[in-house]
Amino acid sequence: MPPYGSEPESGSRGRDFALTAAVLFVAFGAVYLPPTTQGRISSTLQVSALRPFIAMQSLLTDAGTRRVRIEALQATLDSVSAAMSTHQAVANENETLRELLALQERAGPTYRPATVHRPGTPGSESTFLVNVGSRDGIRAGAPVVSPTGLVGVIRETRTGNSVGIDWTHPDFRPSAMLADGSAYGLIESRRGAFREGDRLVLNGIPFHEPVDSGQAVLTSGLGGIFPRGIPIGTVLSVAEEEGTWRKAYYLDPIAEPAAATHVLVLASDSGDDASQAWDQDTVGVAPPGSNER
């Protein structure tokens, strides 16, 4: 703090004392003013000298209120976003379950609904667990189907669950046929350079049998493991030819194993024809054995 200055250049001492006395009188008198007068003085000062500070307070209060409102809106938006993000998955699952219920009604009570779990551990590729087992009547070799078609087959059953393989597994070998029943063959999975490169192949088709691209391929029911008529896929192109007696075709699989979260598993012998369980319009062909083609 700098040193204080010299004597102020005020007037006479007497005048100074008189002014001070008058001010003190006013100050003490302010306490005894009528409340209305006190209020009037307060109002005058509030709308004049103190107005900028009161305006600042209003601005800050409004800003604080807006901030709280924005935070509340942000929280609401976050909740809605979270709900929306899960809504699509729930809606998809709901749709799958509805389709599965419809499929079960068509296929009959011998198909058990099940939930698919994938272990996700190294070496467990192409295998899955379903939460139905021997106590539900599930046996090894039972087909696993989704509303779109054949997903895989059960390999092992336990009391409460079972282990299955999907069509990407090398051991997946159901007998198959073209949807019009004109040719029969064997389905096999061929490993690609990477998992997404795995291909489904219909092998053993007679060389001179005409097979068009887009033709549907169904289970043939031969061998007694898979009922006849479960959609497997559609023909894409020729995979290989052997001499002049055999051809193999790449298939576009109709069921996506990774997307199959809810499936039906055949619990017991349901007869040898399951073709009526699938909507043939979605398969793209008339049911096998029908005379429409």
Binding site: Q38, I41, F53
Partner: protein, 162 residues
Amino acid sequence: MNELDVRTVLLWIVVVLLFVVHFSLHIGFSYGRGAPDLLTLGLLIAARETSLGRASVLGLSTGLLEDAMSVLAFGANSIAMTLVAVGGAITRDLFVGDSRHFLPAYVFVGKWTRDLVHWIGMGSEVRQPFVEQVVLQGAIGSVYVAGIALVMSWVLGAWGEA
């Protein structure tokens, strides 16, 4: 302007700034007791720079501004600030005040006196217990303002020497 005039102008600028910051903190930002009583600090500094009469007018003015926001005890601040201003102006005749320790001590006593007079002027139906409002809150508030005065004297002293 000579050096004395410059110093006086700068000092009044500091006083006005203290008044503005005080009302900004107390009314604008609504900090309440968390903000220091810079109005009393500014008044105590100004009181030693002007005559007794002008100091009392300044005290009454600042007191009325405080009272404008005080519904239940109108006038208590006017009395307290006027008396503090008069007391501050009188101290110039009693103390030279060239010691670095003078300003904090002067501000401490001035602020505490202001709280004491304000407590008395409020009236028994409004005021809090003496120990709580004057002894505890008054002492803490006085130390707070005296600390600010100490920092200010260092800053302004260093600035003046530069």
